[in-house]
């Protein structure tokens, strides 16, 4: 190719740099939220004790002798595992929500709207009802079952949209909605036909972290890590996927393969989140949108920051859920729905306005 004549030294564009600064600020804010969440609870424990325990655990020295055993238990065996699990689940929902939105080119896509979470909870319900033990050492059946359920839901939705002539993602979205409703109905039937004591199952489906333990976080991390690595790896490709499919292909994107990788990864993360915390809606919707409003459409920024925002949001929601009517707790899903529903309406109105303006 002939060299193009440069029109001068004007540098309108500057090279992308990874949004480290934003990510670091985000992590800092999230860490502050997490520490506050550890410090605040139904039982008053001086903030000093939290740091004392944290440092003694981090650096293996015996610094927390002055603490009563009960405050040690409350901090280390109740609040910390709970906050950590909320961070992991929030991050997973944030990242997978952003991925689904990017993939379906629909700002309202959310693991709960496209049937993934319903499929995952159907899978987990089956495990619940068969009475199989959930965990074998560090292997847990629950995320595997929910992953199968979630993936089956997406796959069936995908087949339906494929057979309808094309793999237009809007068809996929609608099919996902239908499959999700179907899975929810099956879950309902299973529950109705089962043993009368549904409290554990229902309480689990409602979502929450009341049973959070350290080993839940440990079990969750591999699923989350695998999903995150693939999704972040594909984040630049996801930008290209914002064009129509043939246009993306003309830019060298293997659209079918990208869809497969991203759907499987996002479903894996959603399912792991569902299996450890039940159904918690709106996190995957809100987090990516806040980031989009702040920092635009580049998925290399949106994806990691959605994870961070989701983590912070869910930790704060859980903090609210467990302290607002202390000593009793609310299901965290109620809090996320209270914040999320108005936000959802706002998005609906906004997208309607965009259409009316002819864009």
């Amino acid at each position: 190719m002939k060299p193009l004549e440069s029109t001068g030294d004007r540098d309108l564009l500057s090279a992308y740099t990874y949004p480290w600064k934003k990510i670091l600020i985000g992590i800092f804010i999230t860490a502050a939220c997490a520490l506050s969440a550890v410090a605040i609870g139904s039982v008053y424990i001086p903030a000093f004790s939290i740091f004392s325990i944290l440092f003694s655990k981090l650096f293996f020295f015996q610094g927390s002798d002055h603490l009563t055993p009960s405050s040690h238990t409350i901090i280390w065996d109740i609040r910390f595992p709970r906050v950590v699990l909320a961070l992991l689940v929030g991050a997973s929902l944030g990242i997978s929500g952003a991925t689904y939105q990017g993939l379906f080119k629909n700002p309202l896509a959310d693991p709960y709207l496209i049937g993934v979470a319903s499929g995952a909870s159907l899978g987990a319900t089956l495990v619940f009802l068969t009475g199989l033990p959930f965990t074998y050492g560090y292997f847990s059946l629950l995320p595997v079952a929910s992953f199968c359920g979630g993936l089956a839901a997406v796959y069936i939705a995908y087949l339906i949209s494929h057979n309808s002539g094309d793999t237009q993602l809007s068809t996929l979205l609608l099919a996902g909605l239908a499959i999700g409703a179907f899975a929810t109905a099956i879950t309902g039937i299973l529950m109705l036909r089962s043993d009368p004591d549904l409290r554990p199952l229902l309480s689990w489906l409602m979502g929450g972290f009341i049973r959070a333990q350290w080993n839940h976080s440990i079990l969750m991390i591999p699923y989350m890590a695998v999903g995150t690595i693939f999704i972040l790896g594909y984040s630049r490709i996801l930008n290209t996927m914002q064009l129509e499919e043939y246009y993306s292909e003309s830019l060298g994107v293997d659209v079918e393969k990208t869809k497969r990788v991203l759907i499987i990864s996002a479903t894996l993360m959603t399912s792991a989140a569902v299996s450890f915390s039940g159904l918690i809606g709106f996190v995957g919707l809100i987090a990516p949108h806040v980031i989009r409003l702040l920092w635009g459409t580049d998925y290399r920024t949106i994806l990691p920051l959605s994870g961070i925002a989701g983590a912070a949001f869910l930790v704060l929601a859980d903090l609210t859920a467990r302290t607002i009517i202390s000593p009793v707790e609310l299901p965290v899903g109620i809090i996320t729905a209270l914040v999320g529903s108005p936000f959802f309406v706002y998005l609906l109105l906004k997208s309607k306005r965009t259409i009316e303006n002819g864009y």
């Binding site: 109905a185 489906l205 333990q213």
Partner: protein
């Protein structure tokens, strides 16, 4: 939506005793959680003021049996006992018809003769009717009723969530008994006679009255009277054994996922009778208690339907009942149904927690 419906329905069933509770305690001003040394507010007074020492009977032609704690038409709950004439306890009772029973909504339900074909949609009612020898009158119930064994031959016309109204109509019952109002209107529209009594939820002694009401309705007042008497005597015995005690040990009951009964529940009432200090005394009805609150309040006894979940939770390892492996497995068949066997569950607790006092 389904999730919420299922949850609310399940709570209705699961916490039979709680859902329609008339709160005798002002929720704005609940009893603060009693620290281990605080004496209980002399519980015996409560029963004696509320209930007559002697049973209902010797009824003049049109008997009015007002259900205790009935509601006015607006559904606002009152908590007053309708006083009735006092008979001689030894006197032989005669069933008198027509009989008027005032239902939960304050409406008069008139019986001209004992109903022959009863659909009793409530485990406690089924048990009571069998206990007073009138089980042959029951032609239908719901699928979760399993006691007494004869129930196996009685047609199941639905479960807690669904009622097969067509089937009920086809059975041609002359009375349908309900403990929750969901299907009342439909059944009445179908031309059936429906009796909706409030569940016994906040006052243990009301149970005896319910037995008597069933005795009147089914025309076997003597059997009902002796059942009620037996109940009252056994409660009285516990009361008198414990009368010299000012306050007993602290207790936490886990009915599943840390849901626990508060002071204004039937179980709260049982704890008062047993002079146990419920650590969830400040909970209104049933609530999911924060785990850290449980650790902070450090109960001396734990009652759970699934002790394994308590034992395996790392956060609870320092609680005395966990250390001693002494979490008491409650018999849900007894304490879950406010019928004739309920007192057995109460006595189990008395034996368990005061091993020296009760034989």
């Amino acid at each position: 939506m389904l999730k919420k419906i299922l949850l609310s329905c399940s709570l209705t069933i699961a916490f039979i005793l709680a859902t329609f509770a008339c709160s005798s305690t002002d929720p704005k001003n609940p009893n603060p959680a009693a620290p281990a040394s605080t004496p209980l507010p002399a519980p015996t007074k409560t029963y004696n003021q509320l209930l007559p020492a002697t049973p209902i009977a010797a009824i003049i032609p049109t008997t009015v049996l007002k259900e205790i704690g009935s509601a006015d038409k607006k559904g606002k709950r009152q908590n007053k006992y309708f006083p009735v004439p006092t008979p001689e306890p030894t006197q032989t009772l005669v069933a008198e018809f027509p009989l008027t029973v005032i239902d939960r909504n304050g409406e008069d339900i008139v019986f001209t003769q004992p109903p022959e074909r009863i659909v009793a949609y409530d485990a406690a009612a089924v048990e009571t009717i069998f206990k007073i020898g009138q089980g042959h009158r029951i032609i239908g119930t719901h699928s979760w009723v399993s006691y007494p064994a004869e129930v196996a031959n009685i047609e199941k016309v639905g479960d807690a969530f669904n009622m097969n109204i067509e089937r009920i109509v086809a059975l041609e019952p002359d009375l349908v008994f309900l403990f929750y109002p969901t299907f009342k209107e439909e059944l009445e529209k179908a031309g059936l006679k429906v009796l909706l009594l409030e569940s016994v939820d906040d006052n243990l002694m009301k149970m005896a009255n319910t037995f008597r009401i069933w005795g009147q309705i089914t025309g076997s007042p003597n059997e009902a009277e002796s059942l009620a008497k037996n109940f009252e005597n056994r409660v009285g015995k516990i009361e008198s054994v414990l009368s010299s005690y000012h306050s007993g040990p602290s207790v936490f009951q886990d009915v599943g996922d840390l849901w626990t009964p508060g002071s204004n529940t039937l179980m709260g009432n049982v704890f008062n009778l047993l002079k146990l200090q419920n650590i969830a005394n400040d909970v209104d009805n049933y609530g999911q208690l924060s785990p850290e609150v449980i650790i902070d309040r450090n109960p001396q006894f734990i009652i759970s339907s699934n002790p394994e979940l308590i034992y395996t939770n790392p956060a609870f390892q320092n609680l005395l009942p966990v250390k001693n492996k002494s979490v008491f497995k409650a018999n849900d068949d007894y304490l879950g149904i406010s019928g004739p066997r309920f007192i057995l569950g109460v006595e189990d607790l008395a034996f368990e927690f005061y091993p020296g006092l009760f034989k």
